[in-house]
């Protein structure tokens, strides 16, 4: 299981962005995690408080938005839903598809408290 080390690299990125923006606190972290990323959202949630203790993001709400698996067919061009072990085209059944969503492991968005935000 590598969710704890993943949380640590998440926090490195979050702290750096918070510093760049002069934030005093990180309030919310939005991750986008797809079923094919190899990462379990629930395990990330468990690991997060351990990794975040004592950081600027210790109080942050960690929101994990699961993404849906979608494939686009190279044969018939259809865009359909798929499941982790069946990534075939939902329209024509071809296996020549390209994943367009479902393997994300992204830090999507942060909400920060930034003092004196009047430019």
């Amino acid at each position: 299981m590598h969710e704890l080390s993943l949380c640590q690299s998440l926090l490195d990125q979050v702290e750096q962005i918070a510093r760049e923006h002069g934030a005093t606190r990180v309030d919310r972290i939005l991750l986008k995690v797809g079923p094919l990323s190899g990462v379990e959202g629930a395990l990330l949630q468990h690991a997060y408080p351990l990794a975040a203790a004592g950081t600027i993001a210790a109080q942050a709400e960690l929101v994990i938005e699961p993404s849906q698996i979608r494939v686009r067919c190279r044969q018939c061009e259809a865009e359909t839903d798929a499941t982790p072990n069946r990534l075939l085209c939902g329209a024509c059944g071809s296996f020549e598809t390209r994943l367009i969503s479902g393997d994300e492991l992204l830090l999507a968005n942060l909400e920060l408290t930034i003092p004196d935000q009047d430019d």
Binding site: A23, N85, L107
Partner: protein
């Protein structure tokens, strides 16, 4: 792909960035910052650096992944015996403990660096980079990175390799690709190993294993091989020769390659993806002759 220019924005996630400006405010006045950065970006950065090292020294780096006991080390021993006179080979071994595998490889007369990961379940790009300091890349044509035996975690970490190879041994059962889709869809080549056991394990059907692989939208060649018996390794050895030749041709043109599916959160934009896709196709079409026999009833 990078994490700065926005090329990882896709139809699947673009709504996340369609906010107004960089510092859109939330209802309660907090600053909302759009990031869209892969969570493994530090590892990916190191992996790209490793890949540059390999390319600079003309090395083809291959990442071998499988469950424990699928026969990665035995395959390497047999490969070194077969190709040791033809190419300069080196091996990086990842295990939780012991030097056993590295010693087996060294006994075949090629350099082997053992990475003991302690309790870590996978190799990452930093571990591989450290191991590279103990190898002279100028003396290497083929570098095998034998990942920790595990069908889960290694799939998520780019090491800087050019190709991913997944092994599936006959005693494991033919439905492994369906059970571990994240791993098997990253494979550029799937080797069904220990084929000499097919006669005593008739419940394993290579055709079924390949069907499960195709259901992951994989176009990777599927080869049934064994380290015992004559000619049972021929398609694999030919694949290696072809890959090394392709790598050298690419390097002459100043091009590099990554595995067809890289274990990272973000997608490349359509253009890049097509390019990657075309790479995969060049590769398959140019070698179709070499594995046609093992790949015959592939997918119709």
């Amino acid at each position: 792909m990078c994490n700065t220019c926005g090329c990882n924005i896709t139809p699947g996630n673009e709504h996340l960035v369609r906010a107004d400006g960089k510092h859109a405010l939330t209802e309660d006045g907090r600053a909302a910052v759009t990031v869209l950065q892969g969570l493994l970006s530090e590892n990916d950065h190191q992996a790209a650096h490793n890949r540059e090292h390999f390319d600079h020294h003309g090395v083809l780096a291959l990442n071998l992944m499988s469950s424990p006991g699928a026969g990665k080390t035995s395959l390497l021993e047999a490969t070194i015996e077969a190709l040791g006179g033809e190419f300069r080979i080196a091996v990086i071994e990842g295990d939780l403990e012991t030097e056993n595998d590295a010693e087996r490889i060294r006994a075949k007369g090629v350099p082997a660096i053992q990475i003991s990961t302690g309790s870590a379940c996978h190799l990452d790009a930093h571990l591989v980079h450290t191991a590279l300091h103990h190898l002279d890349l100028d003396d290497i044509d083929l570098l095998f990175i034998e990942n920790v035996g595990n069908l889960v975690c290694p799939a998520s970490f780019d090491l800087g390799q050019h190709r991913n190879i997944a092994l599936l041994s006959v005693p494991e059962g033919d439905d492994k690709p369906a059970k571990y889709p994240v791993m098997f869809r990253t494979a550029d080549l799937v080797l069904c190993t220990k084929a000499d056991l097919l006669s005593v394990l008739p419940e394993f059907q290579p055709e079924r294993a390949e069907r499960y692989l195709r259901q992951l939208a994989s176009t990777a060649p599927f080869m049934t091989i064994a380290t015992r018996g004559d000619a049972a390794l021929a398609p694999w050895l030919q694949w290696l020769r072809d890959e090394l030749r392709s790598q050298r041709e690419r390097l002459e043109l100043g091009r590099s390659i990554r595995p067809a599916i890289v274990p990272e959160g973000a997608h490349p934009p359509a253009g890049t993806a097509e390019q990657l896709h075309r790479h995969a196709h060049d590769h398959h079409s140019s070698h179709s002759h070499s594995h046609s026999h093992s790949h015959s009833h592939a997918h119709d």
